[in-house]
């Protein structure tokens, strides 16, 4: 069977997590590959989380927060917006394909949008294939 990626999703409690719940209550079906972890705000998301997820075997990481200007904490999502480019830069330097990590704005009323984002991301990561991180680290052990 074809490769099914494991994606970790960090969702902010107020917009995106609620949006994901709305997708549920509206019975909008989407790809089952994302495992959602709830944080209060994208501002809580530390690049460490993303790296941790990748080393623990995630093939992709999805970060969702309120649209800029609509943050429940008024500015939290801007913090994430600022960390994101730096994070992407670092991951690129570690040779990890940019498409594996993605930041999206999904509001509490955008259940459909959340579903679309998940489907699209899953598709892209599926095309990339499994993340090299886990396997490479295991190989290293074998080398010695």
């Amino acid at each position: 069977m074809s490769f099914e990626p494991k994606i970790v999703g960090f969702l902010c409690n107020w917009c995106s997590y609620t949006g994901a719940d709305l997708a549920g209550t509206s019975r909008i079906h989407y790809a089952p590959n994302v495992r959602i972890i709830r944080v209060m705000c994208t501002a809580r998301i530390d690049p460490t989380f993303v790296m941790k997820a990748l080393t623990d075997g995630a093939d992709g990481v999805l970060i969702c927060g309120c649209h800029p200007g609509d943050c429940h904490y008024s500015e939290g999502n801007y913090k994430m917006m600022r960390r994101y480019p730096l994070l992407k830069q670092m991951l690129a330097d570690f040779g990890i394909e940019p498409a594996r990590v993605r930041l999206e704005w999904v509001s509490a009323s955008e259940g459909q949008r959340f579903a679309d984002v998940v489907n699209d991301m899953t598709q892209r990561v599926r095309e990339l294939g499994p993340s090299p991180v886990r396997t490479a680290l295991i190989q290293d052990m074998a080398e010695r």
Binding site: P47, K79, R82, P85, L86, Q89, D93, F94
Partner: protein, 320 residues
């Protein structure tokens, strides 16, 4: 002789600076010599691997291993020392986190060989020889240590009791550490010794204010005010994310901290943390502008992980 401390000092993939740092303790080293037998110290004392192999397990009291693990020889000795010594000390940032040699993990073995042996101005063209684990020379086979695909921190190879950070560790800290061993006043296993829990800023004399950064500068681009925090002035300084213990040498002399003492206690990934902190205080809400401001940080990864790629979560490059 039995009442004397039995010590071995070894260098793996390192620059020798750590060995020098021992000598930087000046006459203190003589006191050490007075209370201890230095059974192995390639840079200073004559000694052979076979002598080491000949020792009984646990015969040594302390093995101070500096430098990272880059090849099979490094690992072989690391394992030997571990077996022979009661205490295994990762001495200096290379042993502790991979150090400068660890930066090699951001590239590949092939690239390194290419640069070192094939495309190097200082080598004879055309003979294209790269080190081989084994090579036949008139009927006999010579063998070289195997050059690993990547660099490892010491603790990735053997069980380490204590970590002494620093590139190199500061003499005072070295003394303190050695004294602790001599006196037998040892902290719990796995501790970082010769350094504090908190980050550098606490000990940095520069005044700190709320931080917002519109533009980053390389150190040589600005005449930074000597009394205020370098970061506030747009000069990237790793101090905020670095364990204190060095005595704030760099910032005190006008140079931003490079983070050689590793992450503050409890921080998993020094580079990620630094990135998180630095990006958070970028003063803009516009994606383009943010990109622009962050572009003022060339090779941020190299900076953030200068001493600790092998100790980071991702540990190495995955570029195919």
């Amino acid at each position: 002789m039995a009442d004397k401390l039995q010590i071995a000092i070894y260098w793996g993939a390192g620059c020798g600076g750590c060995d020098v740092s021992l000598l930087d303790t000046n006459e203190f080293i003589l006191d050490v010599a007075a209370v201890a037998d230095i059974r192995l110290w390639p840079i200073a004392v004559d000694g052979k691997y076979k002598d080491l192999e000949a020792m009984e397990d646990g015969e040594l009291d302390l093995a101070a291993f500096n430098g990272a693990v880059r090849n099979s020889e490094n690992e072989h000795i690391a394992r030997l020392l571990r077996r022979k010594s009661k205490i295994m000390l990762a001495y200096g940032s290379c042993a502790y986190m991979g150090g400068i040699p660890g930066l090699a993990n951001l590239t590949s073995r092939e690239k390194i060989f290419e640069t070192a042996y094939l495309k190097n101005a200082s080598i004879e063209w055309g003979n294209g020889v790269v080190p081989q684990p084994e090579s036949a020379v008139n009927g006999k086979t010579l063998d070289l240590p195997r050059f690993y695909r990547r660099v490892y921190r010491l603790s990735a190879v053997v069980d380490v009791d204590y970590f002494l950070p620093g590139c190199p560790p500061q003499p005072e800290q070295v003394k303190a550490a050695l004294l602790a061993v001599v006196k037998g006043e040892l902290p719990p296993k796995g501790s970082v010794v010769g350094a504090f829990e908190h980050a550098l800023c606490e000990d940095c004399p520069r005044t700190k204010n709320e931080k917002k950064i519109k533009k980053f500068y390389r150190p040589w681009q600005v005449a930074a005010d000597p009394d205020t925090c370098l970061l506030e002035q747009g000069v990237l300084c790793a101090g905020v994310a670095t364990r204190s213990g060095c005595g704030v040498r760099c910032p005190k002399s006008g140079i931003p901290c490079r983070g050689c003492y590793g992450p503050a206690a409890g921080v998993v990934d020094q580079g990620a943390k630094l990135a998180s902190a630095i990006a958070s205080i970028v003063d803009s809400k516009d994606p383009e502008e943010i990109e622009g401001i962050l572009a003022g940080l060339p090779d941020f990864t190299g900076f953030a992980y200068r001493y600790g790629v092998p100790a980071s979560l991702l540990q190495r490059s995955y570029r195919q």
